[in-house]
Amino acid sequence: MKVARSELWAGRTLLLALMAFTILPFISIFMTALHPSGTVPSGLDWPENPQWINFVTAFNMAEMPKLFASSIFIVLSVVPATLVISTMAGFAIGLLRIPGSRVLLFLFVFGLTLPFQGIIIPIYFLERAIGIYNTRVAIALPLIALYMPFAVFWMRAHFVNMPSELSEAARVDGATTWDLFWRIHIPLARAPVASLGILTSIWTWNQFLLCLVLVEDPTQRTMAGGLGAFQGHYANNVPLLCAGTILILVPTLLIFILFQRQIISALLQGSVKG
């Protein structure tokens, strides 16, 4: 496509301006984080004497190692469980097409638009009643359930497009349903399962509301939940708050830079299918 020179520059200027709009907030908190703790600097101002120690202070105050371990624990208990049970359900609904699968699908799709706030109150009382309130499990179990509508829908979309000849051929060779699932379709479903894994990991890492309601102890929360608590304590110490925010952002940003292609395509596909 041929494009006029003036249009080319106008377009590039607009893009550069929007990129600045996206990046400047990060630069601003980075510069602020280097100011002496407790002072109130201005938005974009490189300090005379950069206080790198702020990152160490924030690291200790936010109990970063504990918070990190807690997040990893929650992600590792939520994501594999979500992948396994949603793949199984997606397989039964999309490929085996068991009687009642339409009803089941409808039931799960119904949950797609349900906001977390809509059901958080009973979850709180339910967890108090069964005695898991204020533990990491209190975040993990509802999260697995809340991912089910999307995850089942996602896996079903994959299985429903698999050619039926594949399953029939295996049947002729005497494969049981379990063989069909475990030996034929799981190896073929690696790509959608991987995307689902990326998505649920990011969502879990960033989960805030469930942490806020269900867990009082910040060190039992995910990173985002811990950050919320940190903000509560250090709202008036701007440099320290910025340093803490940066520390909590670093793992997400690293993962994004490493896997940006997969993450972008997973998030896009996820929303298109959802």
Partner: protein, 322 residues
């Protein structure tokens, strides 16, 4: 990693026997097999179904149930009928949250989708190479970070000594500088800006993916007929991106109506109730004021609201061939 499937000796024998079996017994065999398979199929769905029922469907029904009672969370529950719903409609602070939520839709949904359409078509036209790729990645960045972090970052940017006011002063607009999040009139648009920042990249990249699927020949022929950029945009790009626009609208409208994280860390609903949305009010009612029934009624209304708004969007923008 599971091993590739290999038929066992046993299964080869059965399949070898098959042609000899007579029609009738085959049918019986099959119906038995079908029943067994159905049973096994249902077993496959059980774990997902159990988790979903226990932590989503039951709480969903419980929310509806709670909404008909007056309850402080520990004492006895009193049946009050639809009184909680009446209260939601009558108390200005409660019904106001719903108006605020719709106001937020303009910022979280309308602006990112419109701007995203423009930005995507700009990238599509003038930045197909590395520059476009970099722009895409950078704009997408806010989408992966926690909303809490986005809120904290912008809480500082919009503060009195923050970057926004600094820039306004630099261009000679110091008259309008203020603590944006503490201002009754400006707090909601300020929170809305955070939404634009978070959602613009998502909309841009999604719409861009749709644009690359449009046949370039369409644009070529339009240009031969002397169509301008604006013509092209409204006659080709927008109609053919109907499905993608629908997806963007759905995602962003839900993000607006069910907003919580960003608002909680920036304003917590204040000043007054000027940025209070249903999500925030549900939390405050249920967990600080212990008005479980009222909070549940608002929660039910929020869920109904989301469905009412999303259904027409889905219906209008569905791909016709499917």
């Amino acid at each position: 990693m599971p091993a590739p499937y290999r038929p066992t000796m046993n299964s080869i024998e059965t399949s070898g026997n098959r042609p000899k079996t007579i029609e009738n017994s085959r049918r019986i065999f099959r119906s038995k097999r079908v029943r067994r398979e159905t049973f096994i199929g249902w077993l496959f769905t059980l774990p997902a179904l159990f988790m979903y029922a226990f932590f989503v469907l039951v709480p969903f029904l419980m929310t509806i149930l709670y909404s008909f009672f007056r309850w402080n969370g520990v004492g006895p529950m009193t049946w009050v009928g639809v009184k909680n719903y009446v209260s939601v409609f009558q108390v200005p602070n409660l019904i106001g949250t719903i108006f605020n939520a719709f106001w937020l839709v303009v910022w979280f949904s309308f602006i990112p989708v419109c701007l995203g359409l423009i930005v995507a078509s700009v990238i599509h036209r003038v930045a197909t190479g590395t520059f476009g790729l970099v722009a895409r990645t950078v704009l997408f960045l806010p989408q992966v970070i926690a909303l809490v972090a986005a809120g904290i970052i912008w809480g500082w940017l919009l503060a009195l000594p923050g970057l926004i006011n600094q820039m306004l002063k630099a261009v000679g607009l110091s008259v309008i500088t203020r603590a944006w999040l503490g201002d009754f009139h400006w707090a909601l648009p300020a929170v809305g800006m955070v939404g634009v920042w978070v959602l613009l990249g998502f909309c841009t990249v999604l719409l861009l993916t749709g644009m690359t699927k449009i046949d370039p020949a369409l644009y070529e022929s339009a240009r031969l007929d002397g169509a301008s950029w604006v013509h092209e945009f409204f006659a080709i790009t927008v109609p053919l991106l109907r499905h993608e626009i629908g997806v963007c609208l759905t995602v962003t409208v839900i993000a607006a109506l069910a907003a919580f994280d960003i608002i909680w860390v920036t304003t917590a609903g204040g000043p007054g109730n000027s940025t209070s949305v249903p999500g925030i009010q549900i939390y405050i009612l249920a967990f600080t004021q212990r008005a479980i029934g009222l909070a549940s009624a608002l929660a039910v209304m929020l869920m109904v609201l989301v469905v009412i708004v999303i259904l027409p969007i889905q219906w209008l923008t569905r791909e016709s061939e499917k």
